[in-house]
């Protein structure tokens, strides 16, 4: 940050400017930095699970490969595509906000919500199948073949990781809904769209988590 970038006196008072900031630039910089720092905490949050996954996959490679084959790769691939689509629409929503197209913002945000919901529906279908096949860890877990206890570990990670991911999706969809409402009330302008931008960052982050989860869980070995 260059010396003296902050102005010693209060700048023009913009309606969107919070009292603790001097100008909109500073406010925007703070909100963007805050969001990125938050995403770093999210990386570490998922990181604990990824570490555990790495440890056990290293310890029980055969069991993990075997258990992974029980996942529906087609559904997983479709969901990956759905989520990538939603990231595109989210990026376009942010772009619309940047150039001040309110209709575009509302349309793309709604589309993103729709795709996110579609992802969750597919995920729900997969969960139902796993439940039906007794692949949910716990008392009812049943797994034919030689790798039973370690396959249960795999499914513990499957549910913990995809569950945490799905929880992030649900929260994301909630935020998107709020943004649609705010946007329709004309809350955002090319000067002030940090909420849309930050939600975009969050949404793309959730997408990235899935980009790693998909091959790690579904594609260990399909030969």
């Amino acid at each position: 940050m260059p010396i003296g970038r902050r102005r010693p006196t209060l700048a023009e008072h913009h309606a969107a400017l919070a009292h603790q900031f001097d100008d909109l630039d500073q406010q925007r910089e703070a909100s963007s930095l805050g969001m990125w720092v938050f995403l770093v905490t999210e990386i570490m949050f998922f990181g604990g699970l990824f570490t555990g996954y790495t440890v056990y996959r290293h310890a029980y490679p055969e069991a993990f490969a075997d258990a992974s084959r029980r996942l529906a790769v087609a559904l997983g691939a479709v969901n990956t595509a759905v989520l990538i689509c939603s990231s595109l629409t989210m990026a376009l929503a942010v772009r619309s906000a940047q150039v001040g197209k309110r209709r575009g913002v509302i349309a793309f945000l709604s589309l993103t919500m729709l795709l996110g919901s579609a992802f969750l529906v597919v995920k729900g279908v997969e969960y139902a199948h796993k439940f039906h096949d007794h692949l949910v860890p716990g008392a009812t877990f049943a797994f034919e073949g030689p790798h039973r206890p370690h396959a249960e570990l795999f499914f513990s990670f499957y549910f913990a990781m995809t569950g945490l991911h799905a929880l992030h999706m649900v929260i994301g969809i909630g935020i998107l809904a709020a943004l649609v409402v705010l946007s329709s009330r004309g809350r955002f302008s090319p000067d002030d769209y940090a909420a849309v931008e930050n939600t975009g960052l969050y949404w793309h982050f959730v997408d990235i988590v899935w980009i790693f989860l998909f091959p790690l869980l579904y594609l260990i070995s399909r030969t």
Binding site: A59, Y60, E62, A63, P146, P149
Partner: protein, 316 residues
């Protein structure tokens, strides 16, 4: 002057003196630096005390040479500590080849020991002087830690795996053993005794407990009753790999990796036979989890160890 209470633990093993030597080195370094800092603090505080409220001393920026000095000297000293500590640790970690092997099972809230001749003890452990003793330990429930302060020996005891530690007692007497890892309600009650005897008396003690069956013999019987021999045979039609001369060798697995056939591997093969499959075999062995306790596993392993012929054992 004699105080009514100890300020320093007894030295009753071969490593105790070595650990204490390193400890005293650390104490000396610590005392030196503490005294240095304390003296400087007090000296400056007195010498440069404020004499008038209008006193504003001239500033000093800093000094690169000093900064380097007090970065590099501590760095050098700590590296000495590291190397000394690590090399001694390796000694303490690696049991000598001809050690007396005693199996230890920790459970809430007691220690169970079994000597190579089959003698069992609870919470008390009799060992001879002048002979290394290797403890192979596991837990039936939570994490414990076997700690004998007089030997400067401690190692966590975990469920589901073997850990080892060793010591060679040098001084006859009775010493405390503690559980050092918090293990539940009666954690503080897991205090035991290590009784160090002269070798002759140790032999006498071993003989005095009545007839005992060695773990190797019990293990052979278990091997029979559980039907292990039906598959683990030395002939070509065997469905499982032969166990003759297996212990201590390197085994090639189906996925190309190799594993040393140590106690841990044998234990895993009994309880989770399909975690690792030996090259050339199929995952057909059932698990013996629940059919055999930690003690039984120790005994079967003792039996498998006994299948190593002498000349091979020497080659290793």
């Amino acid at each position: 002057m004699r105080l009514g209470f100890p300020l320093f633990p007894e030295q009753a093993s071969t490593v105790a003196g070595q650990v204490d030597a390193l400890y005293f080195f650390l104490v000396a370094v610590s005392v030196f630096f503490s005294v240095l800092i304390f003296v400087l603090l007090i000296y400056f505080a007195v010498k440069y005390r404020r004499r008038s409220d209008a006193e504003w001393p001239r500033p000093i920026v800093g000094d690169l040479r000093l900064e380097l000095l007090w970065t590099l000297i501590p760095l050098g000293i700590t590296m000495v500590m590291f190397i000394w500590g690590a090399s001694l640790y390796v000694t303490m970690f690696r049991p000598p080849a001809e050690a007396l092997e005693i199996s230890v099972i920790g459970k809430q809230w007691m220690w169970k020991f079994q000597h190579p001749g089959g003698q069992r003890e609870i919470n008390a452990l009799h060992v001879p002087t002048g002979r290394p003793v290797k403890l192979t330990m596991t837990s039936e429930d939570v994490i414990h830690s076997f700690f004998v302060p007089a030997f400067r020996t401690k190692m966590d005891v975990l469920p589901g795996r073997y850990t080892t530690t060793w010591f060679e007692a040098t001084k006859i007497g009775q010493y405390h053993s503690f559980c050092a890892e918090y293990c539940g309600t009666q954690h503080a009650g897991m205090i035991g005794q290590v009784v160090v005897l002269p070798p002759a008396q140790y032999e006498k003690w071993l003989a005095g407990g009545g007839p005992a069956e060695s773990p190797t013999v019990t293990g052979a019987k278990l091997f029979q009753t559980l039907g292990c021999g039906a598959c683990h045979r030395a002939d070509t039609k065997a469905r499982g790999p032969s166990l003759d001369n297996l212990f201590g060798t390197r085994v090639r697995m189906r996925d190309g990796t190799t594993v040393i056939a140590d106690e841990g591997y044998l234990r895993e093969s009994i309880l989770s036979p399909n975690a690792r499959i030996v090259a050339g075999y199929q995952p057909v062995m059932p698990t013996f989890r629940g059919q055999i306790g930690e003690e039984g596993i120790f005994q079967i392993i003792a039996y498998i160890k006994s299948l190593v012929r002498e000349e091979r054992a020497k080659v290793r």
